[in-house]
Structure formats: C-alpha cells, structure tokens
Symmetry: C2
Subunit: 304 residues, 2 copies
C-alpha cells in the first residue's frame, strides 16, 4: 500500500475533497487561494471558533478513525451550540505523519464529512502538511441573530444552573469520541431567550462552572445529589472527568416554568444549583479539579 510519502499534496487534496458534498453555500471553494461565501443577513453576526485535536492528547490511533474525524468536527460544533449559533462551514488543517496508513486518514476524513453533513455544515477549505503526529485543526464559521448569542459572562445572582444529559465517564469510554453536539438545544435556548448564560462542558463541570462563574463575576452553589451522573460513574467522575460536551446554562427564576413547559427535546436537562453573588463557590463537598491538558499529557491518555 502506498504511504503518504509516496503521494503528492495534490493527491491528498483531491482525496479529501472527494469526501465532501459540493459546498452549496460557497461562491468559491477549496482549490482557490481562499474560499468565498455570502455574508449572512444584516440582522446576523458572524460566529467563529477554532479547535485542534492531537494524537495521544485527544485520541489514540487505536481508536476507530471515523470517530477521530467525528470528534475533531463535533468539538467545534459543540462550541457553536454553546453560543446558540448556527455553524455554516469549516476549514480543516491536517498534520500527517509519514508512516500513517492512508486508509486510516481517509477514514478520519469520512468521519469528519459525516459529522459535518449531519448539521448541514460544508467544507470551505483545507490544508495538509507533514508532521510527526496526527493532528487536525478545525475552524468553524457560523452565524447568529444579533443580540441572541449566549455568553459565559451574563449570568445573574439567583439564576438556576442547568446541565443537559449525564456527566462523567466519557474519557474512559467511546463517548469522548462519539457525542452529539447539542446544537438544536443551544439554538433553541438562544432563540427563545430562555437562558441567561451558556457554555459547553469540555473540561468537566469542575473546571467549566468556575469559568462561567468567574466570567459573570459570581459564585455558585451546587447540590451534589442533583447531579445527573452517567450510570456506573461516581459524582466525582461527573464533576472531573471532562469531555462531556453537554451544555451548561443558567436560567432566570422567572423563566423556569417556560423552560420546563416548552423544552421540545428528548435530551434531559437537570437543575444542579444556583448562581450566587460574591465569588464563593459551594461545591457541596465535591472536589472541583477539572483538568488541564497542557499539564496532564504524561499522566492521562486523553484530555479536552
């Protein structure tokens, strides 16, 4: 079998492009110096996000390659969900090690294209380069109606804290590779003005909730018993494992009944606490450590 080293860059670009539908929303697509797409309507803002996943940090090559590609795309889509935004198109850079099996890389591509197509997202461009380890950088461009983006910094004291889904256990199972970005839920919360602040849980509640609180210049109180814990996992894991890619959002007390009565999704949503004034956090006895993937590579195989 040919190794990437025997193949040319143009070959890889062709193989890559073959994986993607013709990008309907682009005026000019991959193959020119830049991609061109119509700007969204005047009542919308642009939303931008870049993210990278690296071999042996965010995945291992023992994982199914489709799942690796899927994760690279879905991590970015999860950030769009966290704003309530609509992703439109992606740009992808790929670092290819010399000895990597081309079939493996093509399956990564297939996983990326499938994950993007699921949400009607196109590919605006790509870059391929030689590297020592496999990595993917995905940059997303999307839109949101002006004034509806949900930030981390806009929670108020007294707001209830919610999370979608169940937390914990993702890094030790396939869930860190195979999760569903909560785009529909995030867009719905933003469009209906039902959340006061929002982010996605990539590093774990134990690290991400303190970030949301700090951005809003508030503290928080959570109830350990209220946490939605993945079956078979501990509350400690629910708080600190990370890679949940669920939504963390806050809700004004007067919006609680509207949220509860109109939530149209099968996805579970659970109140876990309340934002409080001052910067003291009450974790109900749980250790909030989160993790930092710049510190933990040597000890943890996977990190957010």
């Amino acid at each position: 079998m040919a190794t990437p080293d025997k193949l040319t860059e143009d070959h890889w670009i062709r193989r890559w492009l073959a994986r993607w539908d013709m990008p309907r929303n682009l005026t000019v697509s991959a193959g020119d110096d830049c991609a061109v797409l119509p700007a969204p309507a005047a009542d919308h803002d642009l939303v931008l996000k870049t993210d990278a996943i690296v071999q042996d940090v965010h995945f291992t090559v023992s994982a199914p390659p489709q799942r690796i590609g899927q994760k690279a795309v879905n991590r970015v889509l999860s950030d769009f969900a966290a704003m309530g935004a609509t992703p439109l198109t992606l740009m992808v850079s790929v670092g290819l090690p010399k000895k990597l099996n081309p079939a493996f890389v093509e399956k990564c591509y297939a996983g990326m294209s499938r994950a993007a197509a699921r949400f009607n997202v196109t590919l605006a461009g790509g870059e391929t380069t030689r590297s020592r380890e496999l990595w993917f950088t995905v940059s997303g461009i999307g839109k949101i109606r002006k004034g509806t983006a949900l930030l981390r910094s806009t929670a108020a004291a007294g707001d209830f804290i919610f999370v979608t889904g169940a937390l914990g256990g993702a890094p030790r199972t396939s869930r860190h590779l195979n999760f569903t970005p909560r785009l529909a839920e995030g867009q719905w919360l933003a469009a209906h003005h039902l959340a006061s602040a929002m982010m996605d849980l990539s590093d774990g509640l134990g690290k991400d909730l303190p970030r949301l609180a700090a951005a809003s210049r508030l503290g928080f109180t959570i109830s350990a018993a209220a946490l939605p814990v993945t079956r078979g996992r501990t509350r400690h894991a629910a708080v600190n494992d990370g890679e949940d890619f669920e939504l963390l959002f806050t809700v004004r007390p007067e919006k609680l009944s509207a949220l509860t009565l109109t939530w149209p999704f099968k996805t579970k949503f659970t109140p876990i606490g309340v934002m409080v004034s001052g910067k003291k956090n009450d974790t109900d006895g749980l250790t909030f450590s989160g993790f930092d993937h710049l510190r933990t590579r040597s000890t943890s195989p996977l990190a957010g």
Copy 2:
C-alpha cells in the same frame, strides 16, 4: 525558568491574549466559547483561509521566533492578497512541545501580533494544545466586495502574465520568514478590475503557474529572459525555489495601459508571458518542477 509543562493552559491563554490589542472589530472575543463579530455590509462576501506551519517543515527552531510567528500570519494574509480581499480577524491554534522554552513561544506570539496589527487584523480566538513539535494553524476571516474576488480560474487566452517583486532564493535566506504580503497591491488590482485572475506564489512559479493555467483550462508561454530574478539567483531558482509570496496575475490586453499608467506602488511588477488556448505550456527551456512539501520533508529543510 518554568517550562510549559509547569504552566497551565489558562496561563498560556492569558499570556497569549496580553500580546494582542483589544479586538475593536469583535463583539465577543477570546475567553468565551466562540468569537462574535458583525457581518460585513450586504454588498460584501466573506473570505476564508486556513494554513499551518510546522517545525522542521516550514521553519526550524534555530530561526528567530518573531519571524516564525510573522510567517504563520503572513502566509495567510498573502492568500487574502491573492483574492484582493481584506482580512479582518484571525483564529490561531498552537501545538506546544513540552520542552520548548516559554520565552521562545512568547516571541513567536509577538511576531504574530505585530504582523497582524500591521494590516489592522485582530485575533478572534486561539487554542493551545500539547504536541511533539511546534506548529501554528492560522485561520483568517475577511471580506471582499461582491463580484470583485480574483480567482485562479478566470484567465483568458491572450491575457498577459505578471508577477510582483523578484523570484527565487527565499528558502535559503530569511526571506521565507520575512516577506510582505502584497495585500495593498492585490486589493488595488481587484477594486480596479485590472486583473483577470490571480494567486500568490507560495510553491514557486513552476508549480503555481501550471495550477492557475489548469484552473482556467488554458496553457501558457513564458519568456525566460523576462523573469524578475532575485539578485544572485538563477532563473531555475526563480521558478522552482518557492516561498516567494509574490502575486501572480493575468491582465487582459485592453487593460495593460491602465495598469501600467496607474499602478501606485513601489513594488515592481513584471510581464513574464501570455496565456494561450489549449493546455500546452511553453516554459522557454526552464524546468518547472515546483515542489510538494508532503514529498520533500526528508530532503528539504523548508517547504511551502
């Protein structure tokens, strides 16, 4: 001195952000899940480009770190120049090896911020991850007035072929790190409808001119004697070294005098040949090899 391994991700994000001016054109900037910026006016399209530079492929760590950061940004800005577009903001992902000196990385950041600021480009977001080698992925978002983007595919038979600047020698000197993206020239050509097709020379005329010709379904004839060659270099080097980051553009015969009479820049521009119908290329005896950085890592220290 502290190594990155002793520092946290949040530390690196803070240090990174300290390098950049407050992004005036953003509604929401780094620190939230995504960045938000107003969409350009309705008579504009969005322009998108992503690019990556990797240690020992595009630079070596013996290079001045400011220059490495400068190159990471300027490669992308050169692609905006190639469309005649205006870059607005950048997203940057950085792969940091464990043993890298933090002062080195900070100087890379300084080089990036300086290069961007020179063209009033802001930073919309960044991502930092552990990796085995140093790499930077830069994604740019910009704008262009609808209908003015200069593509590779729109040259016509009989159009004259021009290049800016002088070609050759960049990989063996500091020029591959320290070049000026031809943004002003590209934007001027697009705004005044004086070019019929355009791209930037990243892989060398010997690879890039055949790409432009193929995209336009044409051939080309060049004059070896007409090539603007960097002092002390050969014509073979001018065609095949790559990393020139000059503009390659075509001009309809009836626009030649307008171009020549109104070109307002000190940058030299040189006619080197003509586009021809059919797909035969006449290189006037010069070997057009270009290069492919997926094939040449082991033999060449630097590649486009």
